[in-house]
């Protein structure tokens, strides 16, 4: 084995990959799309919110108590207040706790930039005995006026007071013209809910504000008790496992796929025989695997760097455990070696890319497993299922990554056990793959099937 030659092959492989136009575009397209999402989506969303929706809501209220409360509940100020409450809850959830949510809120001077301007809804009361059919026609009739009909509410007679012998209150019917939009409909629903509850409480001589105060219990974050007592951060960690396993799979795929493509290219362009007169198959494979590893690491570093930058800009970097990044790189290396050697062997075995598909599909399916298992494993990181998965190669490293990034990380011995198993699996796979690689490189003709690959591995 000549390390100089391995280095030369790796350097060529790396340069060929990173100077490829397709690679550069592929590399930039993800962050670019992400940046567009982050930068443009809120603007696009609020762009519609910037235009204040104006319209009329008709109500047929036989109880006579819902309409006045609704008039109050769908006033722009009430709608804004409700939106602000929803936003706060969302921010608290994202940040994982009230303090983090507060930090996010303080960075956002004008909440209407996110929530949009509240609609201006005018309530029109219809008599209790109004003709429903005529009212529905009003909804769809063309209106030249500035205020267009948006909804028709028909409150049930027992919506405020229970009918004799009943345990459940009545509610209402809601009619809307086409194209009202879900958001407006929801505002009307939310307003109605508030109005009906207020009316019911008033009918029992109860103070709405008092009841609200009595029923509100603030959700506090739990404290994780350990050597250092720290606040459990739930929200952020809820999507962290997905991000980490995504990075892991993505990094592995980039390197392994390119490795396969370049091997097939060397074979189909017949440059392989010239190469083999200078380097041994093992040196060639080692160089290619290392070269593509460098490519993958570069991509990972770019994406991780962007992630860290984003977290820093949102003052949330403290929520990310730096050890996770260390383990991500470690797990990446093991997973990469395993899959890269398999992809390399496939590349060496086939004559052209088309033939590779049949052999690649099962491997790709294995790489898809983490996506399917990410949710159950992240929800219960210490379940038997999750623990078992983290010891079964080749998905063990991916499962462990999910568990480590989750809210309750596994004990450290399990992490090291996963690493040891992963390393053993990677070595075994590389060993077998190297044999297939050596035999396959100069085999032209009929594309091999699985049985042929096994035979090559045995004869080499």
């Amino acid at each position: 084995m000549s390390f100089r030659k391995i280095g030369l092959v790796a350097a060529r492989e790396f340069m060929a990959a990173v100077t490829n136009k397709g690679f550069l575009i592929g590399l930039l397209i993800m962050p670019a799309m992400f940046a567009i999402l982050v930068a443009a989506m809120p603007r696009l969303m609020t762009a519609s919110g910037r235009d204040r929706v104006r319209g009329e809501v008709a109500i047929i209220d036989p109880t006579g108590r819902v309409a006045p409360a609704l008039r109050e509940a769908i006033s722009p100020s009430a709608i804004e207040a409700r939106r602000q409450r929803t936003l706060n809850r969302a921010l608290d959830a994202v940040a994982g706790n009230r303090d983090g949510g507060e930090a996010l809120r303080s960075g956002q001077p004008d909440p209407t930039r996110i929530t949009g301007l509240a609609p201006e809804l005018r309530l029109i009361e219809r008599p209790a005995g109004a003709d429903l059919a005529a009212e529905k026609r009003w909804l769809t009739a063309p209106s030249a006026a500035d205020l267009r009909p948006l909804a028709l509410v028909v409150v049930k007679p027992d919506a405020v007071q229970l009918a004799p012998g009943q345990k459940v209150y009545g509610s209402y019917d809601l009619f809307v013209p086409p194209n009202t939009g879900e958001r407006i409909e929801n505002e009307v629903r939310d307003g109605l809910r508030e109005a009906i509850v207020t009316a019911r409480l008033a009918a029992r001589q109860l103070n709405a504000a008092e009841v609200e105060a009595m029923t509100a219990v603030a959700q506090v974050p739990s404290m994780t008790v350990g050597a250092v007592e720290r606040q459990t951060s739930i929200g952020f960690n809820r999507f962290l496992p997905f991000v980490f396993v995504g990075l892991l799979v993505f990094g592995v795929m980039i390197g392994a796929q390119t490795l396969m493509t370049s091997t097939v290219e060397e074979k189909s362009s017949r440059v392989i025989e010239v190469l083999l007169s200078a380097v041994s198959p093992l040196e060639l494979m080692a160089g290619k695997v290392l070269g593509q590893m460098a490519v993958s690491l570069l991509v990972l570093a770019l994406y991780l760097g962007m992630g860290v930058l984003m977290l820093t800009s949102f003052a949330m970097i403290g929520l990310l455990d730096p050890w996770l990044i260390f383990y991500l790189v470690l797990f990446f290396l093991i997973t990469y070696f395993l899959f890269a050697s398999v992809f390399g062997a496939i590349g060496a075995a086939v004559n052209e890319m088309r033939e590779a598909q049949a052999l690649v599909t099962p491997v790709m399916l294995v790489l898809m497993v983490p996506w399917l298992m990410a949710a159950p494993v992240a929800r219960e990181p210490n379940s038997t299922f999750a623990i078992a998965l983290s010891f079964i190669p080749p998905v063990n490293t991916l499962a462990m990554m999910i568990r480590m990034a989750s809210t309750s990380p596994p004990p450290i011995w399990q992490v090291w056990a996963t690493l040891a198993i992963g390393l053993a699996a990677a070595c075994a796979t590389t060993w077998v793959a190297a044999k297939i690689f050596r035999v396959g490189l100069l085999m032209f003709g009929k594309p091999p099937n699985f049985a042929t690959l096994v035979r090559w591995a045995r004869q080499a």
Binding site: L8, S269, V274, S277, V279, L442
Partner: protein
């Protein structure tokens, strides 16, 4: 000491016996031709010498090592199946190959422009490989094989598909390498190249060695004692030739000429002078030894196998014609 030695080497691919008990010893400094029709086992032999394939039985040594793997950097190899990295530039590709062969980057960069110029590709360093024609690429690949100044140069069908000018340029480079002291092993199915370039030929047919001799000895052994003659005036009477001393028999050819076969032990140069004195010639020459004929005589086993000989001849000629077209 021999540069290459094969000892009773045998190689099968499934049920197909590609090389059958071949022995070969290529002395250092020789220009050795491996000849035979397509599919004879030339490339399989060469791949075994290069340790790209491994023999089923038998042993070999290359430049004093048990395997070419241990002497890779001292061998230059132009395989029959040759390719380039299409996206790479010619200069970068050649430097990469030379570096893999242990040459420093600076040395390789310095040698590339000169060698490219010598094969008629001056200034091609910056051109991407996929912008070159097939013949140009072949010359680039040839440069790749000699860039590291190897002790042993193995060329598998180096001239196939090349135009005559390119063939001449490459042959000059082979001769230069030889003059430098390199051993050359050249495989070809075009006998004429082997006749002109090699000092030793190794013939292989259906996986077996059928001939392994120096060219000089071959000329003596297979001296055809034939003279090709065309009279200056087409109507000249050539019947007198048959009555001359040393002439065994005369065979008329199309266009009024004839092929004269001399008796054994006759001196062709004397016969030429006498014939020219008898009838003014438009053309008179001693027939050149044709490896093709030697090959056919050996394979067909002398007389009695005319059909087999004719079949072989047509196969060889078909191969050569293909080359000419290409």
């Amino acid at each position: 000491m021999n540069a290459i030695e094969l000892r009773d080497v045998r190689k099968t691919f499934g049920a197909n016996l590609a090389v059958d008990g071949v022995n070969l010893a290529v002395p250092r400094g020789a220009v050795y031709g491996v000849i035979g029709p397509s599919g004879a086992g030339k490339t399989t032999c060469i791949r075994m010498i290069m340790s790209i394939l491994f023999p089923d039985t038998g042993s070999l040594s290359v430049l004093g090592r048990a395997s070419a793997l241990e002497a890779k950097d001292r061998i230059g190899y132009l395989p029959e199946e040759r390719g380039v990295y299409r996206k790479m530039r010619v200069g970068a590709f050649l430097t990469y190959l030379a570096q893999l062969k242990g040459v420093s980057r600076q040395t390789a960069d310095a040698r590339v422009p000169d060698l490219l110029e010598r094969v008629g590709l001056r200034g091609a360093e910056r051109t991407p490989c996929d912008e070159l024609s097939k013949g140009m690429l072949q010359r680039v690949q040839f440069v790749g094989a000699i860039l590291h100044e190897p002790e042993l140069l193995i060329l598998d069908e180096p001239f196939s598909g090349l135009d005559p000018v390119s063939v001449r340029l490459l042959r000059e480079q082979v001769q230069r390498a030889h003059a430098r002291g390199a051993t050359i092993l050249l495989s070809t199915h075009i006998m004429a190249y082997a006749e002109e370039m090699c000092d030793h030929v190794f013939m292989i047919h259906e996986g077996r060695k059928v001939l392994d001799q120096p060219m000089a000895g071959l000329r003596r052994q297979f001296d055809p004692r034939r003279i090709l003659f065309e009279p200056l005036r087409a109507e000249a009477d050539i019947s007198g030739i048959a009555r001359m001393p040393d002439v065994a028999h005369v065979e008329a050819t199309a266009g009024g000429g004839c092929t004269i076969t001399l008796v054994e032990g006759a001196e062709p140069s004397l016969a030429v002078a006498r014939i020219a004195g008898l009838i003014p010639p438009a053309r008179i020459e001693i027939a050149r030894l044709r490896l093709e004929d030697v090959f056919i005589r050996i394979v067909a086993g002398g007389g009695g196998l005319d059909e087999a000989a004719a079949a072989l001849r047509s196969r060889l000629q078909a191969g050569a014609a293909e080359e000419t077209r290409a």
